[in-house]
Structure formats: structure tokens, C-alpha cells
Symmetry: C2
Subunit: 199 residues, 2 copies
């Protein structure tokens, strides 16, 4: 990077430290930023710091929010007796985009992974168990990813919750809609077979 | 994006307006930024504004620099009688990385493109002609891209400079080193044939 001036090198270096941004992309971004109007750069710069400083976990569901409680948790229109457990905020957003789920969420911010040294205490499980102490909750839908970590977490959660008598369900895994059978891996095909429903 | 809080949505929107960053990447970056230490976010934020405000064109070669004149133009070790003309600062960096070019540069910041409405006055050609008025310059190497715009610009520059008596050369085009002939387009193959040299 020593071919660019000090400021440019510094910016390229910082951009390249972000995930998924390699040194070529960082270069392209840095030059684009230099060509941007000053006020737009200032807005972006401010948005970075303001977001970092003002966003924190919702006191109920642990999603990221500006407020004390997120819009979903504070909405009287949502069904507060059904909690969907997801790994990340992006998974929550994916389900919200369907527009059909009316319950509330709980964001774990990770999944149990002995490989990466992430245990039950490193994700928001304590907060979940506290929430379940209110007798309002009737069903917990475990929507962790269909990966090894996601499945491990789902198993752990189901064992944790079962003694409380609350219904625990897991989202179905199977062939994606529009998926071509021939392109789908065997594990998914077996799951789809096991989970077959009567027509 | 309405599934995220105000600050997050705003940040995602601004990141997604950068070139090559789609909405999924912008989401991923925004969540990463929220998880970064505050001081790192502040450094990035500052780097954006400082770079935008302090970087400007070198008074000689129009490359982007913090100083009045860039390190290459102000170096007594470089051969100031040879000027390589490139389209962008990134092209300059690419040639600097070879470590073999000892002359100086001139950055056009674009190429002539009638399609995009970019004419000779929109790139740094006037600055180039002013430089050539010093009798120090012996050779101008045109290293614009090998695209339609790059070639048009090269032709235009050669016509512009020829009357001054300064030698004008064009970098060779042909088969890239390590390139497999069967995967190379016909135009390049013909160029490589035309430009053949005696062994």
C-alpha cells in the first residue's frame, strides 16, 4: 500500500480490516470516498459512530435496538406467548420479511460450538430462561441454523426448556421451495423424507 | 430494511450506496461495526473524513496526495524525462508495484468516452500539455487501459503530442504472462501476433 499517500493508505488499511473486504475492494472504496461530496462522507462517518454508540440489546429479546425495548417486543399486536429463537438479528430480519410470523423473538447472538469454544453461557440463554419464567409463554420455536452448531444449540435448548412444560418446536428442514432434487445433498433429502407430511 | 432500528437502517443504507456493496454485504458490515470496539469505529470514522478533506491532486502529475507535490514527483531519484500516462491512481499503484519503472506519471482520472459523454476536457489533458512545455520531457508512455475508451484516449494523446516532437509510445498488448492461449479472446491473440518481436 506504500504507493498511496498516508491518509489513503490508512483508510485502505482500515477498510480492508472489515469482513469480506479485500485489499482491492478497500482501494476501490477509498478512491470512491475521495470522490464523494464532503457532506456525504461526513454523514457516513457520523452514522458509523452514532450506530456503534446508540445501538444496544433489547432488554427483553436481546435484538439490537436504539430504544430500551425493541419495536417487536413493545408491540401489543404481536403474540407474546410464542417466542422464536434465532441465532442473529439477520435471521430475525429474514423471518420478519415473510410478514407471516406474529409472535416475538429471542436473539441468541451465536450458537453453541465446542469447536470454537462457545458454550451455553456465551449466548443469550440465561436471558431466555428468565423470560420463560413469566407464565405467558406457551410455545418456543427453535429457529437456529440447520448447521452442526445450530442443531446442537436446538437440542440443548429443548432439554433446558422441557422440564418447564412449555411446548418446544423446531422449524422444519427439507427441500427448499423451487429446489431441484438432483442438486440437493443427501442429508437434506433424508431429512425431507423423515419429515414427510400427509397430503 | 424496516426490520432494523433507525440507526442500523440508516447505516445499512449508507453502506449499501457504496460501489460493489449490496444490501446483504451492507447488513453484514453494519452488524460487524456494532460489534467492534468503539475506538476502532471512531478511528475508521475519522479516517473517512480526514482522507476526504486532506487528499487532493498533486500539482504536477494529478495523482492523489496529502502534500503539495506527490512523493514520486518530488523525488530526485526518478527520471523526470519519462512520463507514463495512466487512467487512475490504481493503475499507477499497479505499475509502482512492479518496482521497475523509474520515470514519473501523469494521472488522467478517466478516459475519453463519447458513450458516457466524457470528452478530452473532462480528463487531466490540459495539465499534461502544460507539463510537456518544459523541455525536460523526452518520452511519453501511454498506459491507458486496453479498452475502447483507453485506446481512443491513447490515439487522441498521440495526435496531440506528436507535433511537439516528443516521443510517444504505447505499452504492448498481447497474451498475459502465464495465460493459456485457448482461453484468450481473438482480439488479444491477433494483437499478440501483430506485436510479435524477434527472438
Amino acid at each position: 500500500m506504500e504507493y498511496f499517500s498516508g491518509h489513503i493508505s490508512e483508510l485502505i488499511e482500515q477498510l480492508a480490516s472489515l469482513p469480506g473486504i479485500g485489499s482491492k475492494t478497500a482501494q476501490r472504496l477509498a478512491f470512491y470516498i475521495i470522490s464523494m461530496p464532503v457532506d456525504k462522507v461526513e454523514r457516513l462517518s457520523k452514522a458509523l459512530v452514532e450506530t456503534r454508540k446508540n445501538v444496544h440489546y433489547c432488554k427483553t429479546c436481546c435484538t439490537l435496538t436504539d430504544a430500551d425495548e425493541c419495536p417487536i417486543c413493545s408491540s401489543p399486536k404481536r403474540d407474546h406467548s410464542t417466542i422464536m429463537i434465532v441465532e442473529t438479528d439477520r435471521d430475525l430480519a429474514a423471518y420478519e420479511k415473510t410478514g407471516k410470523y406474529e409472535g416475538v423473538y429471542h436473539v441468541l447472538h451465536g450458537a453453541i460450538s465446542p469447536m470454537l469454544g462457545i458454550g451455553p453461557d456465551d449466548i443469550k440463554l440465561r436471558e431466555l430462561m428468565q423470560r420463560l419464567q413469566s407464565d405467558e409463554v406457551k410455545e418456543v420455536i427453535v429457529a437456529t441454523n440447520s448447521s452442526l452448531e445450530g442443531e446442537t444449540t436446538a437440542m440443548y435448548i429443548s432439554k433446558l426448556i422441557k422440564p418447564t412444560g412449555i411446548k418446544v418446536t423446531r422449524i422444519a428442514s427439507g427441500v427448499p421451495v423451487g429446489g431441484d432434487l438432483e442438486n440437493i445433498d443427501e442429508v437434506t433429502l433424508l431429512r425431507a423424507l423423515e419429515g414427510r407430511v400427509q397430503l
